[in-house]
Amino acid sequence: MSNEDNSQKDMFKDLAIQGLWKNNPALVQLLGLCPLLAVTSTFINGLGLGLATLIVLIGSNITVSVVRQWVPNEIRIPVFVMIIAAYVTVIELLMNAYTYNLYLTLGIFIPLIVTNCAIIGRAEAFASKNSVLLSAFDGLTMGMGFTVVLVLLGGLREIIGAGTLFAGAERLFGDIAAGWSITFYQGDTTFLLAILPPGAFLGMGLIIAVKNSIDAKLEKVQTKKNTVTIQRARVTTEV
């Protein structure tokens, strides 16, 4: 029994590592780049779209997992797309109702969540083959991984390009957030490139480069550890 618990725990841990780091939808799979690059001109825009995607991803993963026994293999893609579209519609209506200004800023990119490959990719690769709980958790970690990158890129571009952070927070969090905006530098010379689309590509490339260099360092540490264990193993094993 405890063994099963452990394996369950390992599974969740693995899912979390996969979603947030090793198989991050934005940094490794490079899925959903269109909204990622298009809306991340500010921190709040990134966070708004990230949260919307996260909720859609959890919902669609749960639903796909629930109906996985009854969906014929041949028509699974249209079924998945309809499920995702239903969730996106719900989110769009909710955002229209409660965060109207953010809804206006994000514009076409909210309905376009339907076409985000990261979501249908998870439905196809994971939720259609696993239990509801695992699928929900996978949706959560993958969504978090995506949101973190959106927020990071949005924050960097906002700081460099506009000199502020959390500007327009009231569009997402309501009036209490009106004073959250932090100004780093002021002036009429903002670094426009960071706000313009090329800035998104450059920023994304640099973030991926940083991630890869961290991975390379980790791998070096790992191989060092492994060589040590191998040496001991050779001593103790009988040949």
């Binding site: 009429d188 010379t189 670094f191 426009l192 490139l193 960071a194 313009l196 090329p198 450059l202």
Partner: protein, 370 residues
């Protein structure tokens, strides 16, 4: 007598990269002096700042990449990049913008692609375009040329404006841009552009004091001379066999044909070939930037296509685009197209027919796989 054996090529170039880069800079000196005469000390300060930053960035990245720093720096390519970027910048641009441009040119456009020889784009032009689209207002603040300006800043004033934003006596750059008539000066390209948006005609526009008048009416005051001196340096480079004549000549021909066709269609709206040649950066671009051996086309036919299309796009973007000058955009655009151009303009190998190249290569591939 010792007869050594060696593999081909047996005819080796006597010129190292270092010598070529130095000769290109030597050829750019007349143009630089003209720029210094017409725009003052700012030109020289920008040049020094850009070269120091470029060399510094190059050294830093080389050290990070664990490459031999001094050996690579000795090829002078970073110095040339800084030089070419600096001569494109408005003379009193704030120092930190110049630094940002140089960092982008060397770190992003050159070293991240793998260093000299691997960069797809011309580094100096990337630096320039980054600055142009990031700081459009500052990047269009050219001073009036010598003789038209009300105040001409001294060396100390220029230094002070670049590093603090104000001259020693407290004038800012907008005040320095006033001409004798009390009007803020624009570059020749800018003034024609503005005139046409205000529904004036091209022939009216070139009567303004930023143009020379006289025989070459559309030759910008000061700018025309600068272009002429760069043309001179460029011709020297061709004579010395440093650059191939095909690229600059086809750029100029491309500009001339496109401009003339438009000018004949509607002379009130579109400038003449001479107007396009001797204003803005066409001469520098054609002789010094488009000819960059790394990012330009390498085949003989390809060079002609490359140059002619640059010329075509310069006139088209200048006339219909959002920015007054378009040399940098055109060159970067054609840099992108170079692999395609080179693919379709491969020279015929002696003894092989040009026909059915696709079939030939397919056959070869078959043989190889067998």
């Amino acid at each position: 007598m010792i007869l050594g054996t060696s593999s081909s090529p047996h005819h080796t170039a006597r010129r190292s990269t270092q010598i070529i880069m130095q000769l290109v800079m030597l050829a750019a000196i007349p143009g630089l002096l003209a720029q210094w005469y017409f725009f003052g000390w700012g030109v020289v300060i920008q040049l020094a700042l850009a070269i120091v930053t470029c060399v510094g960035c190059e050294a830093l990245v080389l050290a990070l990449r664990k490459k031999p720093v001094v050996f690579v720096l000795n090829d002078y390519s970073a110095v040339l990049t800084g030089w070419l970027l600096a001569i494109c910048l408005p003379p009193l641009l704030p120092w930190w913008m110049t630094v940002i441009g140089c960092v982008f040119a060397i770190v992003i456009a050159k070293q991240l692609y793998g260093g000299l020889g691997f960069n797809i784009f011309n580094p100096a032009m990337i630096g320039y375009v980054v600055l142009l689209i990031s700081f459009p207002a500052q990047m269009s603040q050219w001073l009036p040329v010598n003789g038209l300006a009300e105040l001409s800043p001294s060396l100390l004033d220029s230094l002070s404006v670049i590093f603090t934003g104000f001259t020693v006596s407290g004038h800012d750059i907008e005040q320095l841009r006033y001409t004798i008539d009390g009007v803020t000066s624009a570059t020749p390209l800018d003034s024609v552009r503005t005139a046409i948006t205000l529904n004036n005609t091209y022939s009216d526009a070139i009567n303004s004091p930023v143009f020379n008048g006289g025989l070459l009416a559309s030759w910008g005051a000061g700018w025309g001379w600068i272009s002429a001196f760069y043309l001179l340096g460029g011709i020297a480079l061709i004579m010395a066999n440093i650059i191939n004549w095909r690229i600059p000549v086809s750029v100029l021909v491309g500009v001339a044909i496109t401009a003339t066709v438009l000018n004949l269609l509607n002379g009130d709206l579109y400038g003449s070939a001479v107007y396009h040649w001797f204003n803005g950066a066409v001469m520098v671009g054609a002789f010094f930037i488009a000819t960059d051996p790394v990012s330009a086309s390498t085949t003989a036919k390809g060079k002609v296509v490359f140059g002619a299309l640059i010329g075509f796009w310069i006139v088209i973007i200048r006339t219909f685009g959002g920015y007054p000058d378009a040399v940098a955009f055109s060159i970067l655009f054609l840099n992108m197209s170079v692999p395609l151009i080179d693919y379709y303009t491969q020279p015929r190998t002696y003894g092989h027919s040009t026909k059915n190249r696709a079939e030939n290569s397919a056959e070869k591939r078959k043989k190889k796989s067998n």
